[in-house]
Every structure is written in C-alpha cells, then in structure tokens.
C-alpha cells in the first residue's frame, strides 16, 4: 500500500508464520545456536536500518562467519521457500536492509576479517563486515588508505558500501565505491558462488561487477571484496570559508569547478546546522552568525597546494566570503570536519527524529535549487537544514521532526517528494548515495519510463530470477510509477501490475 503522499511507509505485515521450527533448526545447525536469532527482543534491532520509520520484524536473523556458511544459509532458505536479505551495520538510509515479506536477515556483521592487504599491488581483500574506517586504519601503516569515506564510516561496513555504492565527502576527487572495487565474491540467490571482476582490474566480458555494485543487496550476498587502495597524499590543507548564505557558498563551488580545480572535498553546512553543531558536543568554533560555511579540502603534492589556496582565496573574495580560515594543525582540521561529520548527531537537538534526504542536481543549479528547497521547507512549516556534498551537487536536505505527530510526518513525506520533483525537473536524480531501497522505490517513475525499468528488471532477473533476494526494493510497481509521475512517457500504455 502506498499512503496518500506516496510515501515510503508501506503496509504493515499482517500474517506471521508459526510452524517454521524445522527451517530455523537447519539454520542453527549451519551457523551455531548463538548466531541464529529468533526471539522478539533480539529481532527488534533488525526491523529497520537508519530509515527508522515503519520497521518490519524479520522471521530470523543469522550471522554467518564464512562464505561457506553463507552458501549453506542461502540454500536452506531456498529449500524452505523463504526470501532473505543481506545486512551490514544497518546504517543505510533508504530501507535497503528493511526485511519485507517475512524475509530472513543474513547479517554479515561477524565477517570482519581483512584477509589480505597488499601494498605492492595497492589492494586489500576483505570480508563484507569489515567496518569502513577500520580498513583505512589498517592500510595507513602501509602509507595507503581506502578512499570512499561515508560520514557513517565509523560504523558502516564495506559490504553495505558496495551494495549502496556509497560515497562521502571525498567522492569529488576520488570517486564513489564503484571506482574502488576490483573484484567480488558473490553468493548468488540460488546458492551458487561466483567471482566477479578481477584483482588485475581487467576482467573480460560484461561488467557484472559494475552492475552489482549499487544493487542494494538484490543480486546476492557479497562475501569477499577486493578493493583498490590509494596512497596517502603528501600534504592536506583544510579550509573553512564563511558566507552570508548558502547560495554564495554554492557559487564559489561552481567557480572552483569551472576553474579546473579539483579539491578533495567541498562540503557546505548551512546556518541552521551551524547553530545546532555549535550548541552540541560537536562544537567546532564556527562563527555563530555564519549563513553558511564551506569546508574545502585540498590534497596532493605539498608544492602545489599554496598556489591552490591563493586561487581559492581570490575566488572566495569575489564570491563574497566574509572569512577564510586555513587549519594550522591536525586538531584544527579535525575541528572543521567535526562541524560536517557531527552535523547529523547535532540535529538531535532540534527534534527527536531526522529525515536525511538525498538528491543530486547539476552543480551549476545548486544556488537556485537550494532556495527552492528552503521555500518548500517553509511552506510545509518544517525545520529543514542543509549539509551536503556541494562539489558533487549531492544535496542532503535534513528535516527534523517528531514521528509521534502523524500530521507532521505527512508533511515531511510530502515535502520530501516535492524536493525530489524540483531536483528531477532541474536534470537531477533521486539519490546520489543513499540508494532507492523502499524509501524512493515508488518515486522511480519520476525519472524512468517503463522500458528503462524493464531493463533493470532484466538485469535483476539474471541474478535472481525468482526475486527472493531482498525482495521489494528498488523496482516499483507500475501503479506506483503512474502515481509518481502520471505524465511520464509510456505509462498510459502499460497495464497495472
């Protein structure tokens, strides 16, 4: 069911199964009793991911520790006719790890080994449950790091990053997860085991590896990942540029891009977020009256950075910046970043719940789109703030709200949808890094026609013809498409499914 606002709040499960002891027993035998969770209290934590609305309790959670166990678990699920879904740390923000339709959760949280870290070839092979930040810590000893750095990197797993094709502040220069994955070991939804890609970076044939990255756990369970590591840059400079408002900060971003500079990061934090951060434990010493701050990081050969800073100073002055600070030491650099990375936490001061939205627009349109987004927030009388990856045009309008107020929740959903409409109309897309999941599944028709979605279904069916692996994600029903965009080409020709 889609509610009035076409929301990500789906129908609550009405049926539950009781006679599944045999199946659960089989799973217990595979992973051991303490890695097979069935009690209500244990299952509670697995009912949702970072999109905490509308949780669905899974029928069972298994925590395998090896590829072989994953293979057996998948086969047992298939034998029992049950669907299943992989899960990492559950920090996803689009409902990717929400168990729908009584699915079993296969958590990779105990598959945490770094299997190989090879400085000569600058790569590492890891199990999917390795926490993102732990990999960079391990690589640092070799003068290397793992570039994709979602703001959740202290908790999220590489398996989850692969499934969501996660980005982060440094995506601007280094690319998203897909640019760093060389090979995957994948347990197919029928229990088969395949290797996609190659550590050489030159696998032949269709790029199934590329198609699996970002497939949100619908093409199988990733059990090993070979990633490319990058050399630590010789020098890093972090700047904080203060503006009267977000549009000016975005204009500087546009000038930097047009000027051919490629900073490692270009992150904008708006006034409301600055206020929340400064009132919280993440206090970064930001000017309280700042309309917006731009956190800008440059990295590369030490001899190149002074001239880059000078160019940025000049561009910033032309764009009306009121202040530029260059971090003088590691502590100050960390403080600047705290303003960005602590933003979501600080938002907890504004309201009990936070809806972290995610959309992308062409970078040149950032100033005007942000004004429209703020106007939408005002029109719906919502506390909307913006902290985002400006260099990629990747917006995160954050809406603070209280889910116990159903009327406010409806406004959140309606505003969220309008924001997407504005972004799509500007040539943008529904999500830059959080994925579609259940949250945006029914909005896919805003962007794609039936033929486009049909091609996606063909890909998905190649891996999972029965649709048992993370069902209900990404691909909407035809009805939802029509509702999300009645004018989209072709829907009038397609019968409802």
């Amino acid at each position: 069911m889609v509610n009035e606002a076409g929301s990500w709040i789906s129908q609550r499960r009405t049926s539950s199964r009781s006679s599944e002891d045999g199946w659960i027993e089989a799973l217990r035998r595979i992973v051991g009793p303490d890695a097979c969770l069935t009690s209500k209290a244990e299952l509670y934590a697995y009912g949702c991911d970072g999109l905490t609305l509308d949780p669905h309790q899974p029928s069972v959670v298994v925590l395998p520790q090896s590829t072989e166990e994953v293979v057996q678990v998948v086969r047992a699920c298939r034998a029992a006719g049950r669907s299943f879904l992989p899960r990492g740390a559950g920090t996803g923000l689009s409902g990717g790890a929400h168990p729908l339709a009584d699915a079993a959760v296969i958590s990779c949280a105990r598959m945490t080994k770094i299997l190989n870290l090879d400085p000569r070839d600058r790569l590492a092979t890891v199990q999917p449950g390795v926490v993102n930040a732990d990999l960079s810590v391990a690589a640092r000893a070799e003068g290397l790091f793992y570039a994709p750095d979602p703001s959740s990197q202290q908790a999220c797993t590489i398996g989850g990053n692969v499934a969501e094709n996660s980005g982060g502040p440094h995506t601007l220069k280094y690319g998203t997860t897909t640019n760093h994955i060389l090979a995957l070991e994948l347990v197919l939804p029928d229990g088969g085991l395949v290797q996609l890609g190659s550590a050489t970076g030159g696998a032949t044939g269709y790029d199934l590896l590329g198609a699996c990255v970002g497939s949100e756990g619908t093409t199988g369970i990733v059990t090993e990942i070979t990633v490319r590591l990058e050399p630590l840059p010789e020098a890093v400079e972090t700047l904080l540029v203060v503006f009267g408002g977000v549009p000016d900060a975005c204009r500087l971003v546009g000038r930097i891009i047009r000027g051919g500079l490629v900073p490692a990061a270009l992150e904008v934090v708006d006034r409301r977020t600055v206020e929340a951060v400064e009132a919280s434990v993440y206090r970064a010493g930001l000017p309280q009256d700042a309309g917006a701050v731009l956190i800008l990081e440059l990295d590369g050969p030490a001899c190149a950075l002074p001239a880059q800073i000078e160019r940025i100073r000049a561009l910033a002055a032309e764009t009306g910046a009121s202040e530029i600070r260059v971090a003088t030491d590691e502590a100050e650099r960390a403080r600047f970043w705290r303003a960005r990375k602590g933003a979501f936490g600080a938002m907890g001061r504004l309201a009990p719940d936070l809806y972290v939205h995610d959309a992308v627009v062409p970078r040149g349109r950032l100033p005007e789109i942000l004004e429209e987004i703020c106007a939408i927030g005002d029109r719906y009388n919502l506390k909307l703030s913006n902290v985002f990856h400006a260099g990629d045009g990747n917006l995160h309008p954050n809406i603070s709200f209280d889910r116990r107020d159903p009327e406010e929740l409806e406004r959140v959903v309606a505003a969220g949808r309008e924001i997407l409409e504005v972004c799509v109309a500007a040539g943008g897309v529904l999500t830059g890094e959080h994925g579609v999941g259940t949250e945006k599944r029914d909005y896919m028709g805003m962007l794609f026609g039936p033929d486009d979605l049909d091609a996606m279904k063909r890909l998905r069916a190649t891996f999972d013809p029965q649709g048992v692996c993370n069902p209900g994600k990404i691909i909407p029903s035809t009805r939802a498409c029509i509702e999300s965009n009645p004018k989209a080409r072709g829907y009038d020709r397609v019968p409802f499914t």
Binding site: N165, G167, G175, T176, T178, V194, T200, G202, A203, T204, G205, Y206, D207, L208, G210, A211, V213, G214, S215, P231, E234, G254, I257, R258, G260, L261, V262, G300, P301, C303, A304, A307, V360, P362, R363, H389, D392, G393, N394, G427, G428, V429, L430, T431, G432, E433, H434, V436, M444, L447, F448, G449, D451, D452, A455, M456, L459, A461, T462, I474
Partner: protein, 430 residues
C-alpha cells in the same frame, strides 16, 4: 550458399530508417563478414524501428561506428546487415560550467576532443589508434596510455540512451556526476561490444585541462616494469608506457631516436597538473632515469603503436597485477614477443611476429598460444587476442572465456533474445 538480403526486407528497412540503405565496401569486409547493406538511422526512433524489423526477421546485424576498431573481438557469425551510427552524431548539450556533455554515439572522437579542449575541458577517452566514434569508444572500452590519469572508460560515462534489440529505447544514468538511482545499467553497455544494445547517446564527464603538461622519455633496461611502476606512481603521472625499442620504428616513428642507444626499452611519461608539481616530477624523472623531453605528440604515437599489426603476427593484451607484470614480461620476451607495458594498472600488449618460413604455419600459431597460456597461468593474467593473421581468425575465443559465462549468456538472452546484435563477437562468442 550466400543468401541475399530480400527486396522486401530491404524496403522495410529503408522505410524504418527513412533513408536508403548504404552499400558497404565489399573489399573491406567487417569483422570477418561482408555486409550487403547498412542502415543509417538519424534518431532513436528510426534506430528502434530498424531494430524491430531485424529482430522480427531474426536477422543478425553488425553495429558500425567508424569501423576503426573492428579488429577487437571474435569474427561475426554470418551477418548481412549493418546499422551505422554515423547520423546519430553531434553535441546536444555542453554544460561548460559543470564539465558534462551529451553527445550522439556517432560523434567523431577527435572532433569532440577538439571542441571540449576549446572550452578548457579534456575528453577523458584515449582509445588506441586514431579516429573512432563515441559509441565505438564506449562499446569497446579500450584504453590507451592515459588510463593512468583518466581511469577506465566507464568512469567517464554518466548516462546512456540505448536501443535494445527489440526496439525498446532505454535510458540509464543522467547528467549529474553522482548517482545511485537504481541499477548502474551503463556499466553493462560499456565494453559490451554492442551485443546488449546499441548506444545511441551518452552523457560524458569531462576533465579540467591541466595547468601544465610535460612529456619525457628515457631509455631503460633490466627490471623495466619496476622502473615504470615507480614513475607511474608519481603524483602527476597521467600517461605512461614502456615500449620495446624495436617496435618504435614500425609503430611510432614520431618518437624519434632513443635517448640512449643500446638499451632495449623506452619509457614515455606524461605528467599533468599544477605547474610546480609537474616540474617536480619532471626533475625527478630527469635525475633518476636521465629522461629527456619527448615530442609533443608522443602519447598519440603510443596510441598508434598500440594497434600496430605485423603482416603475419599476433597481438595479445594481458591484464596482470603490478606484482606479476615483470614475470609476465619476461615470459613473453622469452617466448619471442615484444611488449608495450602500461605499468599501473598493469597492461601488457605483446606482439609475436612470424618469420618468413613460418608463414601460414599452424605450428607457429600453436607455439604462440602456448606462450599466451603460460603467461596467463603463471601471472593470473587475463589475455585478449587483438590481432591474428586472417587465416587464423576465429580459432580461439579472442577473450579467452570467462568463469561467469553462464551469467553472461543469461544476460545476453534477456537483452537480445534472438541474438541479433553483433552475434558471435563477444566473449564466449555471445
């Protein structure tokens, strides 16, 4: 017995594409077949109609760009029709502020690169050889020496319009530089040699032209891959190759005389980026390797060299891990090959040339294949056969198969159920 294109099919195709079929030069042939007619649709609608007609007739079709890279892949299965992307060309939109551009598949790469360069943007595609179209560059996904700086072809593709075998016009991706809305379908079409769908238009991401770029060359010997890798890992290295000196007069005469006589390999490197960093790397390579400035078109010369074909010879491309590339090179040289090496990611192109007396000798070819197999096994390398003498074409799958061929076959069947698009050319003769 040779079948002819029926008059009925011909007229239906002409109606569908709104233009007469073009004759294909019979003396040229195309990927092992001779084509009787080539449709030249001018837009996605016409392309879709043409494909529908062909699919209904179960008529295989070759997808043609400028035919500059038809050497890649297996010979076509019997095919009489071609579809050319020649009229699907031109720049639809160039967002100079954002560094993104939307172009038709038939757009010539060199013209496009010229246009973007005028606005301070680089087209980050450096397919081996010269010429070629956008569609061809994406479908073959071949990389030249600038892969070090540009990354693989797929990294420059933001969105695609394709037409599938049964005529569906499908869009994926968009113009924005970051996007995870649904499956990353563009990855499937890039590098699929036109066997899943015909690329009709593309949104590409451009790179800002660097403040400074310098090219050097040095003569080296011994552990040449290790030397090359050290240079490749400098901060501003954008293009790099180590070439067997004896190949240069045949494939890249513009590179001129070697900096030092008597050494077997020549290293060519391009540094690009901020001027102080480029100068720093330039000074380093001059001090460490005695490198000297190279001609301004040295990188283009290397791309020419990459497609060098000997009258009777075999060219094979190997992908290895950097740590295994030196061993691969030694095995290849011991087996009589001469190599061009891109150190990171490690790609070795090896040329085997037959002696006069080996002419059309299958035994010689078997020896070459034995070396290829040895390198593949010893260095866990992928090997792609890029050129063979005419008499030997099709003897082996040019791509050497894939451990996930079953999945690939299934995918192909779902996208092109009647197997009409470029049949036989891709991995596993899909």
């Amino acid at each position: 017995m040779k079948q002819m294109l029926s008059a009925d099919l011909k007229s239906r195709l002409e109606d569908a594409s709104d233009s007469p079929l073009r004759l294909h030069d019979p003396s040229r042939g195309y990927a092992g077949v001779s084509l009787e007619g080539v449709a030249e649709p001018a837009d996605a609608g016409a392309l879709s109609r043409v494909l529908k007609v062909l699919d209904e007739q179960r008529s295989p079709v070759a997808i043609l760009g400028s035919e500059s890279r038809s050497w890649l892949g297996n010979p076509l299965k019997p095919t009489r029709m071609g579809i050319s992307t020649a009229r699907l060309s031109g720049i639809d939109e160039f967002d100079e502020a954002d560094g993104v551009i939307r172009v038709g598949a038939g757009t010539a790469l060199d013209k496009l690169a010229e246009r973007t360069a005028r606005s301070g943007w680089w087209l980050p595609i450096d397919s081996p050889g010269r010429g070629g179209t956008v569609g061809g560059a994406l479908a073959t996904a071949l990389c030249g020496p600038r892969r070090r700086g540009f990354g693989p072809v797929r990294d420059s593709v933001l969105g695609l319009d394709t037409v599938l075998a049964q005529g569906a016009h499908v869009r994926c991706g968009a113009r924005v530089v970051k996007n995870v809305t649904g499956y990353d379908m563009a990855k499937l079409y890039v590098g699929s040699l036109g066997t899943l769908g015909v690329i009709e238009r593309a949104w590409l991401r451009l790179r800002a032209a660097p403040e400074s770029a310098l090219i050097f060359q040095a003569s080296i010997e011994g552990a040449v891959h290790a030397e090359g890798l050290a240079v490749a890992r400098r901060a501003t290295t954008r293009a790099i190759a180590v070439v067997d000196e004896s190949l240069i007069p045949f494939g890249a005469p513009h590179l001129g005389r070697p900096p030092r006589l008597g050494k077997r390999h020549r290293l060519i490197v391009e540094f690009a980026g901020d001027a102080p960093a480029v100068d720093q790397d330039g000074n380093w390579v001059a001090d460490e390797l005695g490198a000297e400035p190279a001609p301004a078109d040295a990188i283009e010369s290397l791309r020419d060299l990459q497609i060098l074909e000997f009258p009777i010879g075999v060219r094979v491309r190997f992908h290895t891990r950097p740590s295994q590339a030196e061993q691969a090179r030694m095995l290849l040289e011991r087996g009589g090959a001469r190599c061009l090496i891109c150190p990171e990611p490690s790609v070795l192109t090896a040329w085997f040339e037959a002696g006069l007396d080996e002419g059309e000798d299958p035994w010689w070819l078997d020896q070459v294949f034995a070396v290829v197999d040895e390198v593949r096994a010893a260095s866990s390398a992928e090997a792609i056969i890029e050129a063979l003498p005419d008499w030997a074409r099709g003897r082996r799958d040019a791509f050497g198969g894939s451990p996930v061929l079953g999945l690939m076959r299934d995918l192909k069947e779902r996208f092109d159920p009647n197997g009409i698009l470029n049949p036989g050319r891709f991995v596993g003769r899909l």
